[in-house]
Symmetry: C2
Subunit: 343 residues, 2 copies
C-alpha cells in the first residue's frame, strides 16, 4: 500500500540507483533532486527501514536487557537511554530479566534473533559467560551499572567502592562510630559498595559487629526489614548506610513507622536520588549517580562501536563516573561543638 522507491522511479523516470543515492545523501543534479523531492512529497514516500535493513544488515534497533523493569532505578535509566537512543534514530527492544539468570540468557537469544545492532545490558548474571553468543555474532555490547567478574565488556557506571567509601566517611567525620550497612551483596555494585563501607570503617579503626552488616537481595524489603531490626537492637547503631535506591526507600519507611526519627535518633545516608529528595523530610544525605550522563555515555560508546565495524580488539572501555554527595539533614553531629538536637 505505501509508496515504494519504484513508484518514485516511475514518477520521475530516474533509476532506482539514483533515487537510492539521493535518499542516502549522495549527490544528484539539482533538477533531479527537485523531481525526486516533488515525487516523495506527492506520494508520501517513506523509506522502508526493514527492507533497507535487509541489505545493509542493520535494524537501527538496540536491545536493552535489564534485571527488573519494575525497579525505579531501571525505569529511570530506561528513560534516559530511550531519549538518547532516539537522538540517534534508534529504537530499543527491552527485555526484562525478572531478576532471573536463566531468563536473561534466553532474552539474549531472543534479541540476537531480532538482529539488534547493539546491546545495552544491566545484567543479573554475575558471570558474563552467557554473553558468549553475542560475542560470536559480533554484536557490540555495553554494560551499564554492573559488570561481570569474569568477562570484559565496555562498561559505564560509577566507582561503587569509592562511592560507598566517601559516603561512610561523611558519617565517620561527623563522629559516628556505630555505623551499620544495609546493602545487596548479590550483584556487582552491591558487593563493591559493601567493600567501600568496610574499607572506610577499617581505615577509621571502627569495628563492624556481625549484626551491623545487613546483606541480602537488592529490594525494598531488604531495607525495610533490616532497618526495623537495627532499630530494635540492644546496641542500636547511631548511623546506617543504605546501599541502593529500593533499600533506602524501605529503610526510610521503617524509620517513619517507628517512634524514632532522623537525625535525632538515627543518622542515615542513602543511595540514588530518584524521587526521595522531592518527598522526604528532613532531607536525607544521598549518594547521587549521574544517571543522565551515564546513560548518554553508554549510548555514545555503543553507537561508536556500531559505527566502526571492528570489534574493540583489546581496547575495551570502562568509564566510571564520580558520584555527588547531596547534603541533607539526616546526619547528627556527634563530635564538635554544635548541638545536633537543634536541627
Amino acid at each position: 500500500m505505501p509508496a515504494t522507491i519504484r513508484d518514485i522511479k516511475n514518477k520521475t523516470g530516474l533509476s532506482l540507483a539514483t533515487i537510492s543515492k539521493y535518499l542516502n545523501g549522495g549527490n544528484v543534479l539539482p533538477r533531479n533532486r527537485q523531481l525526486i523531492e516533488a515525487a516523495i512529497e506527492e506520494l508520501h514516500y517513506e523509506v522502508n527501514e526493514i527492507a533497507r535493513g535487509l541489505v545493509t544488515n542493520q535494524t537501527k534497533l538496540v536491545g536493552v536487557m535489564v534485571y527488573d523493569i519494575e525497579s525505579l532505578f531501571v525505569g529511570n535509566m530506561l528513560h534516559y537511554i530511550g531519549a538518547e537512543l532516539r537522538r540517534h534514530g534508534y529504537g530499543f527492544l527491552i527485555c526484562d530479566s525478572f531478576n532471573d539468570e536463566e531468563v536473561e540468557t534466553q532474552n539474549l537469544q531472543f534479541l540476537l534473533k531480532k538482529k539488534v545492532d547493539g546491546l545495552l545490558v544491566i545484567p543479573v548474571n554475575r558471570s558474563g559467560k552467557f554473553m558468549e553468543p553475542a560475542k560470536k555474532v559480533g554484536v557490540p555490547v555495553v554494560l551499564l551499572d554492573r559488570a561481570f567478574y569474569d568477562e570484559e565488556f565496555d562498561f559505564v557506571g560509577i566507582d561503587n567502592r569509592m562511592a560507598a567509601y566517601r559516603a561512610v566517611k561523611v558519617l565517620i567525620e561527623n563522629g559516628h562510630e556505630r555505623i551499620a550497612v544495609i546493602t545487596s551483596n548479590v550483584e556487582y555494585s552491591g558487593i563493591y559498595r559493601l567493600e567501600g563501607y568496610l574499607e572506610a570503617m577499617k581505615e577509621a579503626g571502627l569495628s563492624v559487629p556481625e549484626e551491623y552488616r545487613r546483606l541480602g537481595k537488592h529490594s525494598f524489603e531488604l531495607g525495610y526489614k533490616n532497618m526495623k531490626e537495627l532499630l530494635a537492637l540492644q546496641e542500636r547503631p547511631t548511623a546506617v548506610f543504605l546501599g541502593n535506591y529500593e533499600t533506602t526507600l524501605g529503610g526510610i519507611m521503617a524509620v517513619n513507622e517507628s517512634e524514632l526519627s532522623w537525625p535525632k535518633d538515627i543518622s542515615i545516608f542513602g543511595f540514588d536520588d530518584l524521587i526521595m529528595s522531592r518527598v522526604v523530610r528532613p532531607k536525607i544525605w544521598i549518594a547521587r549517580q549521574p544517571m543522565e550522563q551515564m546513560c548518554a555515555k553508554a549510548v555514545d560508546i555503543l553507537m561508536e562501536r556500531i559505527g566502526s565495524k571492528q570489534t574493540p580488539e583489546e581496547q575495551i572501555m570502562k568509564v566510571t563516573f564520580g558520584i555527588q554527595l547531596r547534603e541533607g539533614e539526616s546526619i547528627r553531629r556527634l563530635n564538635g561543638r554544635e548541638n545536633p538536637s537543634g536541627d
Copy 2:
C-alpha cells in the same frame, strides 16, 4: 556470516521452496525432513526474521507507548506485557511519552516507521486524534488503562468510576462523613475515579467542601503535598481516598512524617497494590487492579487483531475488569459498637 536457507539448499539438494515450506510447518517427505533437520543442526541455521518480515510484511514487533516509563504502575504493566508478548513470540518496542502529548505524537510516527505489527498504548493524550496515522496504515491498536474521550479503540482497563465508588462506599459504611479525595483530574482514569467518589458522596448525602477535593497531575507529590495540607486543616477530614499509586505513596509518606497515624487519626483508602502492601503497616485498604489479567487480555486482543487481517469494523471491544478491595486496618470505625482504638 550466519547460514542462510540457501546453505541448507546446497547441503540437502532440495529447493528453497521446500525448505521454506518445512520451516513454516508444511508437509515434507520424512526423508527430506530428516535431511533438512540434519542440515539445520549442522549449520546452526536460524531463520532471519527480518528477511522473512520483508515478504510477510510482519515484524513480530509490537509498539508500546506509555505515558511515563518511570512510573511504577507502568513498570508493572510492562513487566506483564513483556512476558505475555514473549509467549506469542513477539518483542516490544517501548516508547516513553515523558507525559508529553507532543512527544507521544512523534513516538507514534517513530513506531509506525519501524513497522510494528500492533500498538499497545497507555496514552497521555486525552484525545485520540493523534492516532490517525495508525488508523490510516491499518495497524491494530489496543488501549490500556486509559481511553480517549473522542475516538474509539479496543480498550482494556477497569471501571474507574465504579472502583472509586466502591472504595469510598467502604469509608462511608464505616461511618465516615468528612471524606477527602486526592486524585488526578487530568487523564482518563483519574477523572472517572473522581466521579465515582463524588457519586458515592452524593448518594450518601455527604457534602464535599472545596478544600476536600484535591486535584492535580498524577504524581507522588500530588499525594504528599495535599495530604500534608489536609492534615493541617482546621476541619480535618476523618478519611481520605487516594486515587492512584503514586499519589497513595505520597500520601502515606506525608502521614508518616506527621504526628498523626492511621487508622487512629485518619483513615485512608489507597489505589493500586504494587509494593505498598509488602511494606506499609498497618496495612492499608487498597483498590487492586488485576494487572496481570488486564495485560494478558490486552495482548490477547491485540494478537487477535493482528491475526485477522480485517480491521475491527464496528466491533470494537471494551473490556473492563472489576477491582478487588483488599482489606486492611487503615479505616477507623466511627459507627457501630467496636472500639476502633483497639486496632
